[in-house]
């Protein structure tokens, strides 16, 4: 069974058709990189999968649940969503922010159990923010804050990850580490859809690539194949050069 299923999904925001005719499936272990130019409808599409926007037509299923109608707690146990923008109204400490990810697993007062603390520690270590645990979230740099909220999403313990630009604002080493970590999560049985503008990282770490342009899923396949298509060149208005480094690793740059 596919974990995430989209069938003929169309989304209208206000009077504007933002997404149309998207059908796709994501199964266990898959790491999908979702690419496309600004305003292509990537964020709207992942928001709809998270159950935050209602599709005009079509159906979305998250492990069999309709994300719009199922109780939020049920969806949260299966799917973690990292939004493109994240603002925290109060000066929580980093560890508290990561522990907010445990909401759906907790009852009553929700004081952190040993299990919650272990999950938070693992997530913070995976995102290289363990040393920031006691720092105030609002005093972090942009990239550090981004890594903390990726850790929050991981800490949720959900099988499906839906991450909208998790590496925006990250230095190259940390951006690469986040993608390597996501690859490891998927190899261990998770499934992820990752929106990114970093085509090089998408090529190196993505299992398959979805190209969205004008609200439609215009190309799908291995990242190397998709980046070479005429659709990609048309969507970005640039040819993308895919090559191989002396070490044998692939790379992608706008030509």
């Amino acid at each position: 069974m596919a974990w995430l299923e989209l069938s003929d999904v169309a989304i209208t925001l206000g009077a504007r058709d933002v997404v149309g005719g998207v059908s796709a499936e994501v199964g266990e272990g898959e790491l999908i990189v979702l690419v496309g130019p600004n305003g292509a409808g990537k964020t709207t599409l992942v928001r709809a999968i998270a159950g935050l926007v209602a599709p005009r037509t079509g159906t979305i299923r998250v492990l069999g649940h309709d994300p719009l109608r199922a109780p939020r707690r049920v969806i949260a146990r299966e799917l973690a969503y990292l939004p493109q923008r994240y603002e925290l109204a109060f000066p929580f400490a980093v560890e508290e922010v990561v522990l907010l990810g445990r909401y759906a697993q907790q009852r009553g007062l929700g004081l952190a159990s040993d299990e919650d603390l272990a999950a938070a520690r693992r997530a913070m270590a995976a995102c290289d923010v363990a040393h920031l645990a006691a720092r105030r979230f609002d005093e972090l740099s942009g990239g550090e804050a981004r890594r903390v909220i990726v850790a929050q999403a991981l800490c949720q313990g959900a099988r499906c990850l839906l991450l909208d630009e998790p590496t925006a604002g990250l230095d190259p080493a940390h951006a690469r580490a986040i993608f390597a970590m996501l690859r490891a999560q998927c190899d261990a049985g998770a499934a992820a859809i990752v929106v990114t503008h970093d085509l090089d990282l998408a090529l190196r770490h993505g299992g398959s690539m979805w190209l969205v342009a004008g609200g439609r899923l215009v190309a799908r396949g291995s990242p190397a194949q998709v980046l070479a298509t005429a659709e990609t060149r048309a969507a970005f208005d640039l040819p993308i050069h895919v090559g191989t480094l002396p070490s044998g690793e692939p790379f992608a740059v706008p030509a």
Partner: protein
């Protein structure tokens, strides 16, 4: 103690929660126990401040009657202070707005308008003082419904529309109150003025008793939703993804906070600044986790309003100052001090 009270102590543990709340409850209990014993008395030396012997509680003691004049005021201050600070803390979290308090959302103005109307229509003659309190409660509930309907988009209550709807309703109700006042006779007008300043002088113990039950229930509901308020600090999308039923949570918290304010206003008229200053000050001291901050604000609000009311009846001998004016006069400088310090503002609200 610094471990319990430090705003940067990090994760909330059971020990820190119990310890910090025990300190807050202890301080509040001491203030509540001492407040009725303090008062202005007359003897050969003239009018001066005196602390009564706790033995006055015994029936037959000469001070017994005096004590029982003060006890309803103290009881009212405790209940109303807890309601206003609890509601203010919850509304700041719900609206992501440091200036949110019971008065921002128009609830207080709506209650005042209904009370002014009740005085004008002579309700007091028919139902006694309770009639005005009842009218205030109805006014608060009515305003709550209008603001909620105006602000609601789909299932959600976006903070920006909620503040906008609240401020609009607040201005409308204040202006309508002023129109009614300006066309009233002198007796009604002074009665309205007194009511709108807010005070504990005429509060009866039975009124406090009636208000205590709904206020207690409301405060319990807010504490139950403390974890949801924490998650909402990251915005509605994140809260929903974490598993919070956002629409229901927003409606329950907004409705509960508004009714708490309505009940508090019904007891003693509008009392300002408790709902604004107390949660801010405690957030600096205890950190932003609502599982601790909400109950601590309730205890803190009870303590601060009791202190203010004790000052109101003792600072100027023979003149009982209106409690609402004392809280505002003391609260405004506190709040200005908080706002002026850029560094402190960053501590309060994240970004400087």
């Amino acid at each position: 103690m610094s471990g319990f009270l430090s705003g940067t102590a990090g994760r909330l543990t059971g020990r820190r929660l119990v310890g910090a709340l025990a300190i807050c409850a202890g301080v509040t209990a001491v203030i509540a126990a001492l407040a009725p014993l303090v008062g202005v008395v007359a003897d050969r030396a003239g009018w001066h401040l005196a602390v009564m012997d706790p033995g006055a509680a015994a029936v037959g003691s000469p001070d017994h009657a005096v004590l029982w004049v003060r006890i309803p005021r103290v009881a009212a201050s405790l209940v109303v202070g807890a309601a206003l600070a609890g509601a203010g803390c919850a509304l700041q979290a719900l609206l992501h707005n440091p200036l949110a308090e019971p008065f921002t959302l128009g609830i207080s103005s709506g209650a005042s308008l209904a009370a002014v109307l009740a005085i004008r229509l002579g309700i007091e003659g028919a139902f006694g003082t309770a009639g005005i309190g009842g009218a205030a409660l109805i006014g608060a509930a009515g305003t709550l419904l209008v603001v909620w309907r105006l602000a609601r988009i789909g299932k959600h209550l976006p903070p920006a529309t909620l503040v906008l709807a609240g401020v609009t309703m607040s201005m409308f109700c204040s202006s309508a109150s002023m129109l009614i006042q300006s066309t009233s006779d002198f007796t009604d007008m002074s009665h309205m003025m007194l009511w709108m300043i807010g005070g504990m002088e005429t509060v009866r113990l039975v009124t406090v008793g009636y208000a205590a039950l709904p206020i207690g229930l409301g405060l319990t509901v807010l504490v139950v939703y403390a974890r949801e308020l924490n998650a909402l600090a990251a915005g509605t999308d994140v809260a929903a993804s974490l598993g919070v039923a956002v629409g229901r949570t927003q409606s329950v918290i907004f409705g509960t906070a508004s009714l708490l304010v309505g009940a508090a206003i019904a007891v003693c008229g509008p009392i300002g600044f408790i709902g604004l200053v107390v949660p801010h000050a405690l957030r600096m001291l205890l950190g932003p986790d609502h599982r601790l901050l909400l109950p601590a604000s309730m205890l803190g609000g009870a303590a601060v309003l009791t202190l203010c009311d004790t000052l109101a009846r003792t600072v100027v001998p023979l003149h009982h100052l209106p409690t609402g004016a004392v809280t505002a006069v003391l609260g405004v400088p506190c709040f200005v001090a908080i706002l002026v310090g850029q560094k402190q503002r960053a501590v309060l609200w994240g970004h400087g």
